[in-house]
């Protein structure tokens, strides 16, 4: 018995030692910059391809592939896509990040899709000079200087929260608001900022919180006062916003749901009346994007899309442009690609141009507010 216990203890200790060694290996000093021949180059796509946010990850992957296909055709290049499924889990994003770092063919990463996946992977990328460009991570402090190789083509939440506050308190004239977060790195800071902004405008605010994978909001809804006008729900899953909206109706509450970024999904979030704030416009509302929408529909066989795909298209486009410039002499290092991303100045399919600030934010960007009526989305702000 005692021998067995000792053997088990040794096995556990050995396992822990191996694990520690593995961690030490991945968190060790930065690897030297390796010169890579530019013949077999891939873009890593880090997104939730399965799990609760798969709808957004699959859309991003599809648009990234579309970008690669268009870029290759236009420039005679042979870029490929390497997949990394983060499943909306920070630890999985880190695992995928390690895989991307170890793959010398990957010269740039499109993603991570969510703020928590960026937090857990961008440090790994930074160590080897690998650039990552997100098309949807909006947490403000991601570009506070902590990750020097991280860029994003969408605005950050310090722009989103005042926008939501202005619309809810000003346009909707809400006097009583519930602000609901889903307990993750994206929604907690955003909800906090929205709640503070609303209080500053003398709006009565009640803060609530649910787990990100919650499917029943009925008891949260019981906490919503009959007099509440709006429930601002910072969520990464559109189906959660839809369920919340249904259960408010079920309990006879008149409050409307004001979802954020992840709630934008004409197929999954379709309340009688609701609002969504999003980091990008829907391409279908842009006259200048008609030809790209037609081309995408042909490419994807009319796959549904919302606001998540097109920014990832731009992220992939920016990455490929930078790699091609860095490869002008036949080979390149990951750091050279990062330098080239920093110098980006290219037209965007979303309107305007993509140029980055010193910290990696996209210049001159804004959030968009949509009104939703039974699944029909209309740009209102």
């Amino acid at each position: 018995m005692r021998r067995g216990l000792i053997a088990t203890a040794i096995a556990v200790l050995a396992f822990a030692a191996v694990g520690t060694a593995a961690v030490a290996k991945t968190t060790g000093p930065a690897a030297p910059a390796q010169l890579a021949a530019c013949t077999n180059v891939s873009l890593g796509v880090l997104a939730p391809l399965t799990g609760p946010a798969a709808f957004l990850g699959q859309e991003q992957l599809s648009w990234a592939r579309f970008a690669v296909s268009q870029y290759n055709r236009a420039n005679g290049t042979r870029f490929k896509v390497a997949l990394g499924d983060s499943q909306l889990s920070a630890s999985l994003a880190r695992t995928v990040g390690r895989r991307f770092v170890a793959n010398d063919d990957i010269m740039a990463v499109v993603g991570g899709s969510t703020s928590q996946s960026v937090i857990s992977s961008a440090g790994l990328f930074e160590r080897v000079g690998l650039v990552s460009i997100s098309g949807s991570a909006t947490r403000t402090d991601l570009t506070s200087g902590q990750f020097s190789t991280f860029f994003r083509v969408v605005p950050h939440d310090a722009i989103q929260s005042p926008n939501i506050v202005r619309y809810v308190a000003g346009n909707l004239r809400a006097r009583q608001v519930v602000v609901l977060d889903s307990q993750d790195d994206y929604s907690v800071p955003l909800s906090g900022a929205v709640a503070r902004g609303l209080r500053a405008r003398n709006v009565e605010v009640d803060r609530e919180s649910v787990a990100a994978d919650e499917t029943d909001f009925s008891s949260i809804v019981a906490n919503v006062s009959d007099d509440a006008d709006v429930v601002v729900f910072a969520t990464q899953t559109a189906s959660a916003a839809q369920t919340l909206s249904n259960q408010l109706r079920e309990q006879g509450k008149d409050a409307i749901v004001f979802g954020t970024d992840g709630a934008y999904s004409p197929t999954q979030y379709k309340p009688r009346l609701g609002y969504v704030s999003s980091f990008a416009n829907d391409l279908r509302f842009l006259r200048s994007a008609r030809s790209i929408v037609r081309a995408y529909n042909r490419f994807s066989n009319n796959k549904a899309f919302g606001t998540f795909g097109p920014p990832s298209y731009m992220a992939a486009w920016v990455a490929m442009g930078a790699i091609q410039r860095a490869c002008a002499d036949g080979n390149a290092t990951r750091s050279e690609v990062t330098t080239q991303v920093r110098r980006t100045n290219t037209p965007s399919i979303l309107g305007g141009r993509v140029q980055f600030t010193r910290r990696g934010d996209v210049r001159a960007s804004k959030f968009y507010i949509f009104r939703v009526n039974n699944g029909t989305y209309r740009l209102v702000g």
Partner: protein, 315 residues
């Protein structure tokens, strides 16, 4: 005291608790007979939810069903029960029976493997997107019972009623039929039951069929009342169902029913009142803390659960 809120939370808690109770019954029945924690039980619920969704789509969908709504719901539940019953029997045959004489850790690990296998198979078959029952199109949200300012949607009443009916039917089956007597005998002493002429294998197969069928029904009820289903929903319901079974007394059928309702109510009431009770220190996000604290307290203070009997070991 806001009485409307309290009544609303009680309704929510009983609805949730009814689902947990159906899951807990499956855990309890299998544990009672095989002393095995069937960790794949929550995933059987998930498969049931998908079968119900498939039947709903096959019969025209929520917007335009080709049969009366009540017939549709009955068909969804029956199909899910049949499908999950067969799945349960298959799990027992291929994952647990070969390990019946192995150390107790072996079937436990096999159960974990089955859980992942089912989850990933569903991901492969149906993709990662959430599927919607569109219950609000199926049954209008205005249809229900009014309690003063409070309205209870009829689907919640259907869920509570259906769960109650199934629990009573199971209790009658276990206490009043020959099969029930055989199940109880097998649970008390498998070898003695075999010596008395009971076909123990057959009893185990039937137990798995019934327990899994109840989980399948619970899956459809979850889809109907909460609207959205996905391939990983089984884990959460399985975990809460297991907690309910332990709190009620694992192996005890009335215990599973009581435990389910107890956990459902604890969860709903903690969401509603935890902030007031802790003067704002804890928010509704901590409702699971309350649920699993209850589990820990029961394990420490009354490990046999409310309806369970302490195990006497003779030397």
């Amino acid at each position: 005291m806001d009485w409307d809120k309290l009544v609303q939370l009680l309704v929510n808690g009983v609805t949730l608790g009814s689902v947990y109770a159906l899951v807990a019954l499956g855990f309890s029945m299998v544990y009672g007979i095989l002393k095995l924690l069937n960790l794949a039980h929550g995933d059987v619920l998930m498969v049931g939810a998908f079968i119900g969704w498939g039947v709903l789509g096959w019969l025209g969908g929520a917007q335009d069903p080709s049969v009366a709504v009540w017939i549709l719901i009955v068909l969804m539940v029956l199909a899910a029960m049949a499908g999950c019953g067969v799945l349960g029997v298959a799990i027992e045959r291929f994952a647990y029976r070969p390990l019946r004489r192995a150390p107790r850790i072996a079937p436990l690990i096999s159960a974990l493997g089955v859980s992942f296998f089912i989850q990933n198979s569903m991901l492969l078959l149906f993709g990662a997107d959430f599927r919607s029952y569109d219950s609000f199109d199926l049954v209008d949200v205005e249809v229900g019972i009014e309690f003063g300012p409070l309205r209870v949607w009829v689907v919640r009443l259907v869920v509570i009623g259906a769960a109650l009916a199934m629990m009573i039917a199971l209790w009658l089956l276990v206490t009043r039929t020959k099969l029930g007597k055989a199940m109880r005998a097998t649970a008390i002493d498998r070898e003695a039951a075999a010596m008395m002429g009971i076909d123990v294998d057959k009893v185990i197969v039937k137990t798995f069929f019934i327990g899994s069928a109840l989980a399948g029904a619970a899956g459809v009820l979850v889809g109907l009342v909460f609207g959205q289903i996905n391939h990983f929903m089984g884990f959460g319901y399985g975990l809460k169902g297991f907690t309910a079974a332990v709190v009620g007394g694992i192996g005890s059928i009335p215990g599973a029913m009581f435990g389910g309702l107890f956990i459902g109510l604890a969860e709903a009431l903690s969401v509603g009142y935890i902030e007031d009770l802790t003067r704002g220190r804890l928010g509704s996000a901590f409702s699971d803390l309350v649920v699993f604290l209850i589990l820990v307290l029961f394990m420490l203070l009354r490990p046999q659960g409310i309806f369970g009997k302490p195990e006497v070991k003779k030397v």
